[in-house]
């Protein structure tokens, strides 16, 4: 054709650049090798840490190249864009051609096609064209696939194929990558990731967004009822548990104890057990009751922190003893009433009724020390995640189609020979795993040949 001799226009050259597999190999290798850098240089650390590791000039250079957050840098994202453009252009260039070939297969086994096929066989049969065409059709149907029959110029062509899907495998795989990218971008734009610490008994309605100064409103309240840590007998951690409540419109709508690998989800927002720690100091649990035993209040006394009791006075926990006068753990409290000197006395945990003997309107008992914990939760909303999983599923399907299916094609041509016998040609080809197809073809060959004898 005349077109081919013309020098390609700049546009054609750009297009040829983007549809080349060489570019794909190049991009893949460059992505792989640059990705290594971000694993050697620790990412997203505070600047002070980098200053400790690097000289000033090195820090300035690396910072300039965005090496401290390289996977989100413009140059890395541009490479991903190049990768995606390459992928898309390859698909746009090749997919329609492949579709055409699949839709309009070469159903006729002409001389040229026959020469290009490595697997073929020929023989002669007595009888009529139609008779043998029918017999071989049946043989192919039962042992391979139902053939398409074409009659042209006094010849009969049979064409049968299996595993056409294998031709689509590569496109499904490429499409899956684009879908994953779409899901990732959508999730980044429409979702958020945050982290929050909630002390036991406290509740939150907002979460600080990670890596920024923004705060995300949840639209509901999350309360941490309790946090607990379980250990194996050896002392290694076994489970971190947070008892969480979701409160909406003033009432508890969900309650769940979450552990690592078992998060809480409410209205598309997920709460993951991530960390824990001590919230504030140790407190002493003190129960207040009247002389007759009716309970009034339970106090959590922090060391030396005055706690008022209405109509009574101020209570303070001032000292603690593991073993007070051989009676076990005890708490020393000081009570200050208006206009009276402060009174100091000990409460023994093992003898809760002992304090009733003290001449006073209220009696106290010590329930032990407890430290208040906080739970650290990762909070995430990612509406793109299901798109990502769809992409992942497609990728696996695409790879299986591409690697483990093979487009196998078989042709039979029947022609009236000069000697009055029917000349038969059988030929086949496979898009991949030719060794396996050779065996299948041999079997088919013997099967088809033996038909009608």
């Amino acid at each position: 054709m005349a077109d081919e001799k013309r020098t390609p226009s700049p546009m054609d050259r750009v297009w040829d650049f983007f549809i080349s597999v060489r570019l794909a190999i190049f991009t893949l290798i460059v992505l792989a090798s640059t990705s290594i850098l971000g694993t050697i240089i620790e990412q997203n650390q505070p600047p002070e840490k980098y200053h400790q590791i690097y000289e000033d000039w090195a820090f300035a250079l690396l910072d300039r190249l965005n090496m401290f957050d390289m996977y989100h840098s413009v140059w890395f994202l541009l490479m991903l864009v190049l990768f995606t453009v390459n992928l898309s252009c390859c698909t746009i260039d090749r997919f329609p051609r492949m579709l055409k070939v699949v839709r309009n297969p070469r159903t006729k086994l002409d001389e040229n096609l026959e020469k290009s096929l490595s697997l073929s066989d020929r023989w002669k049969k007595k009888g009529t064209l139609q008779e043998w065409a029918g017999k071989y059709s049946e043989a192919l149907s039962s042992s391979f696939a139902k053939p398409k029959v074409t009659e042209v110029d006094g010849q009969v062509h049979l064409y049968a194929e299996t595993g056409v899907a294998s031709r689509f495998g590569v496109y499904v795989t490429h499409l899956s990558i684009i879908i994953i990218f779409i899901g990732a971008i959508f999730g980044n734009v429409a979702g958020f990731k945050g982290y929050v610490n909630i002390p036991e008994g406290d509740a939150i309605t907002r979460v600080p967004v990670r890596g920024g100064t923004q705060v995300q409103d949840l639209g509901f309240t999350v309360r941490c009822n309790a946090f607990s840590l379980e250990t194996y007998p050896s002392g290694q951690p076994k489970a971190y548990k947070s008892d969480l409540s979701v409160i909406e419109g003033g009432r508890e709508v969900v309650r769940k104890t979450i552990v690592v690998n078992d998060p809480l989800q409410y209205k598309g927002i997920w709460f993951y057990q991530s960390s824990y720690g001590q919230a504030g100091g140790v407190t002493a649990q003190v129960t207040v009751a009247r002389k007759d035993g009716t309970p009034v209040n339970t106090l959590a006394l922090a060391a030396n922190e005055p706690v008022p009791i209405e109509g009574y006075g101020i209570v303070r926990g001032v000292d603690y003893s593991e073993n007070f006068q051989g009676m076990g753990p005890a708490l020393q409290v000081v009570v200050e009433k208006p206009g009276q000197p402060a009174a100091s006395f000990w409460l023994v945990r093992g003898r809760p009724d002992l304090d009733r003997q003290r001449a006073d309107s209220l009696a106290f008992s010590f329930g032990g020390l407890s430290s208040k914990m906080f739970t650290g939760l990762q909070v995430a909303k990612d509406p793109g995640v299901n798109i990502v999983w769809l992409g992942c599923a497609l990728m696996v399907i695409g790879l299986i189609m591409a690697f483990f299916l093979s487009h196998q094609r078989v042709w039979v041509r029947l022609a009236q020979g000069t000697d009055g016998r029917v000349e038969v040609v059988l030929a086949g080809s496979a898009s991949r795993n030719r060794l396996a197809f050779e065996k299948r073809f041999e079997k088919l060959q013997t099967g088809v040949k033996a038909t009608g004898q």
């Binding site: 290798i29 992505l31 990705s35 996977y71 690592v260 690998n261």
Partner: protein, 279 residues
């Protein structure tokens, strides 16, 4: 514990099998190779039993869990996978010369394992998930495929050099023709690649369920992506003129070196979320 005794026996058997395959190659004696195959099969039985016993023993200790959760267990599981993968290849291609290049990988993995802590430890909270099984098993089957591919790629490079010089003498002369080796380098990867892909996906799904992010560019994740990219480049190289054979074989070896780094280097050298794998 009895599982460790069985694993030590496995190490010995892998060593014997490697020696037999190498011996068969040098002595040009097929019978020695046949003996090697039987030792491999015996090693497969012993190591499978060892994994089963270890699993059972973990239940007896009251911390029952699958034996693929620390460095020692992952090493023995990797060697177990390589051995099985190799036996399938040998059976399919009816050629024992591969053994001399693949079984030493299994043997040295086990030798390395023996120097690591073999005690059964309970699972830290982060690992208590059903995703663990799918994630670790698929990753290691993928790694095993890459190991076999790299072993054959070395054979390819040796053979290709000789074919270029048009000699067919010596030990290398016994290797299968370049065409067969090239094909096998490729076939091992088309098994390894989907498994690695599923391994990465299950890892992402698990990370999403445990931490709320399916991808955080943690060194282990990034290295698994690096391997994936290298083998993706390999698969594209195979269909491109000028990238056949030698370059593809080199990519396969580079890919396996990256795999080893992803598996061991990341835990031993870099820090990140997979720190429990280093213990």
């Amino acid at each position: 514990m009895s599982n460790v005794i069985l694993f030590n026996l496995t190490t010995f058997l892998f060593g014997v099998a490697s020696a037999l395959y190498l011996g068969a190659l040098y002595a040009k004696n097929e019978k020695i190779g046949v003996f090697g195959t039987w030792v491999c099969i015996l090693a497969a039985v012993v190591s499978t039993a060892a994994l089963g016993v270890r699993w059972y023993e973990s239940y007896q200790m009251g911390i029952g869990r699958i034996p693929v959760t620390n460095l020692y267990e992952s090493l023995v599981f990797f060697a177990w996978s390589v051995n099985l993968f190799y036996l399938v290849v040998e059976w399919k291609y009816r050629n024992r010369t591969f053994g001399a290049f693949v079984m030493p990988i299994a043997f040295f993995t086990m030798v390395f394992a023996v120097y690591n802590d073999s005690s059964i430890q309970p699972l830290v909270p982060a690992l208590q998930s059903y995703w663990l099984h799918a994630h670790v098993i698929t990753c290691f089957v993928g790694y095993a495929g890459f190991a076999v591919s790299a072993g054959v790629a070395i054979m390819y490079l040796l053979k290709a050099r000789q074919e270029e010089a048009k000699i067919s003498k010596g030990v290398v002369g016994l290797l299968p023709p370049c065409k067969v080796l090239d094909e096998l380098v490729y076939r091992a990867i088309i098994w390894g690649f989907p498994f690695l892909t599923v391994g990465i996906i299950t890892g992402a799904a698990w990370a999403n369920y445990a931490w709320g992010t399916y991808w955080s560019w943690d060194p282990k994740e990034t290295w698994s992506l690096i391997i994936w990219l290298i083998y993706a480049a390999f698969l594209h190289a195979r269909v491109t003129r000028g990238w056949h054979g030698k370059r593809a074989a080199i990519l396969s070896i580079v890919g396996f070196l990256a795999t080893i780094f992803c598996y061991l280097g990341v835990n031993l050298v870099l820090s990140g979320l997979h720190s429990y794998g280093g213990g």
